[in-house]
Symmetry: C2
Subunit: 316 residues, 2 copies
């Protein structure tokens, strides 16, 4: 199959490129390299089934040129701002990199008759609903971050474009995703800070923020599980793992793996790490489990494994 991965040089996208190449698919990889890096994909450059397009998906003309050159069977759309803290300060980032990219990709699919989309959505569309087990039909979606808002807007676009143009769409609401090639987030930040100062660790919030962390290769398997399904319209899945991990527990694991003792944790206080952060959520995973996928690694195991791999400089 001809697969187009938009945001293909990013953290998740580059792992998806690897898996699709390994399965024998042709891979078009589009990235603007604002967050993604060539380092993530350079091992694929010589592969005859791999083609790189250095473009910004919000650029209508260049995206159309790409579709003209490489009409895909499947589009995997992972292009977005992924740094929620950054866009909390500047919502324009979400308008452009998350919403507009999605609008342009759907418009190009409409123009070129591409009929299958995989989309990376997020738990952030639910907003702050810490007392509810979130399933795909939980009502009252009320994002509290600009990131969650833009992704909810994207889900709306996908709903309408899918209906109007007979596109089959799979929308995955991701939790926190971790593993090799991580570019930001709590694990990445803590290791960086402890490398600079192994005696103190500044921790945003009260450390009790509790989230499920999924290992990136588990997530890629979840996506690929649905390559050959044939439902019409939009199908939504929560993608998640067993258990969850507090921020303080992550700090503990990092200190253990780095061999640091008696590190002083300096909490900034408050329930969320920053305004717009959802401090705690739980997913109901019945739907995706019933569809035949289940994560191999629990949240704690995924965190431990990621910490070890990041410390070792593992990239694959």
């Amino acid at each position: 199959m001809k697969t187009l991965i938009i945001g293909g040089a990013g953290f998740i996208g580059s792992h998806l490129c690897d898996s699709l190449i390994n399965q024998g698919h042709k891979v078009g990889c589009a990235d603007n390299f604002s967050i993604g890096t060539k380092e993530n994909i350079e091992h694929l450059f010589e592969n005859k089934n791999f083609k790189l397009y250095e473009i910004d998906a919000a650029d209508r003309k260049k995206l159309r040129d790409l579709f003209q050159d490489f009409i895909p069977d499947y589009v995997f759309h992972l292009a977005a701002n992924s740094d929620i803290q950054a866009s909390a300060v500047n919502p324009d980032v979400e308008y452009r990199n998350t919403y507009t990219t999605t609008f342009e990709i759907l418009s190009a699919m409409r123009e070129y008759g591409v009929k299958k989309l995989f989309f990376a959505s997020t738990s952030a569309v639910y907003g702050d609903k810490c007392n509810i087990e979130l399933d795909e039909n939980t009502p009252g979606l009320a994002p509290i971050s600009y990131y969650g808002a833009a992704k909810l807007g994207c889900e709306g676009l996908i709903s309408a474009f899918s209906y109007m143009n007979d596109i089959q769409s799979l929308v995955f609401r991701f939790p926190n995703v971790i593993g090799p090639r991580l570019t930001h987030g709590v694990i990445y930040d803590f290791i960086g800070r402890l490398n600079k100062d192994p005696e103190h660790l500044r921790i945003l919030g009260n450390g009790k923020q509790t989230k499920p962390y999924i290992y990136v290769l588990d997530l890629v398997k979840a996506i690929l599980q649905f390559m050959e399904t044939g439902n019409r319209g939009v199908t939504l899945y929560n993608v998640g793992v067993e258990g969850d991990t507090t921020v303080t527990r992550i700090a503990d694991m990092i200190c253990e793996e780095m061999g640091l003792k008696n590190v002083i944790y300096e909490y900034t206080g408050g329930e969320g790490g920053w305004k717009g952060d959802v401090p705690r959520f739980r997913y109901c995973l019945d739907k995706i489990h019933q569809a035949g996928w289940r994560a191999e690694y629990s949240s704690d195991v995924a965190v431990r494994k990621t910490v070890q791999e990041v410390l070792k400089g593992k990239r694959d």
Copy 2:
């Protein structure tokens, strides 16, 4: 109070300007006159409490200049594409006129510290759910039109901007709105066609599309009812009327009021009027009724009254 009505020269917006002026508020009216008309507001030009801004809300610079000149207490955001059939052919219209305008208005409110927003949303955010009585918490919002998709995206933006910037927002999901100054829609179209050919009437779909029609002045009262409420965050209301009216019934009423007999109805067939049209929906109105508002006119009465007024050329 200083009130800013964006889309204030449009069908609904101009009636809102009238009511706010009558209540003694200062009114800033912003419109790009793409759908709105000077005719709708020219009777206000000499009023010292009325100020017109001829700008496009998607134009960041000009919108900021407006806020600089007229920092409002309340923003009423009615600027959007309102012609769903038009955007079915060209989704760019919704991206620009519905979503981008909302993003820019919220960004300006954030920058200028404006804390109260009234937003015109739509039943189209629900998608096609003909067998359910839709309440504000109905899950699985799945718009089938680009219009509904853009409005759902706007609701997401309002959720996040309200949380992040302590804005109080009232979001009204309107049904079909009719009355004097109507610019398009089934009543407007049928009268136009029958004026050209009083013997035949082309009717999109099978004529059984059934919707609640609200009289515009009832709707304006619903909005103004909430001027002084003080909830934080976002409050959502379905706004609607008792009963609903089929498209064929509308045609019958128009023929009666025009004194036409034996008009041949030529149905184009199919359940919806066009792709993306939701052929039937029903609202649960408990929430807004409990808040103290109820429409004066039923759907059938609103249709009859509108037909009479449009035929008479009534504009106020």
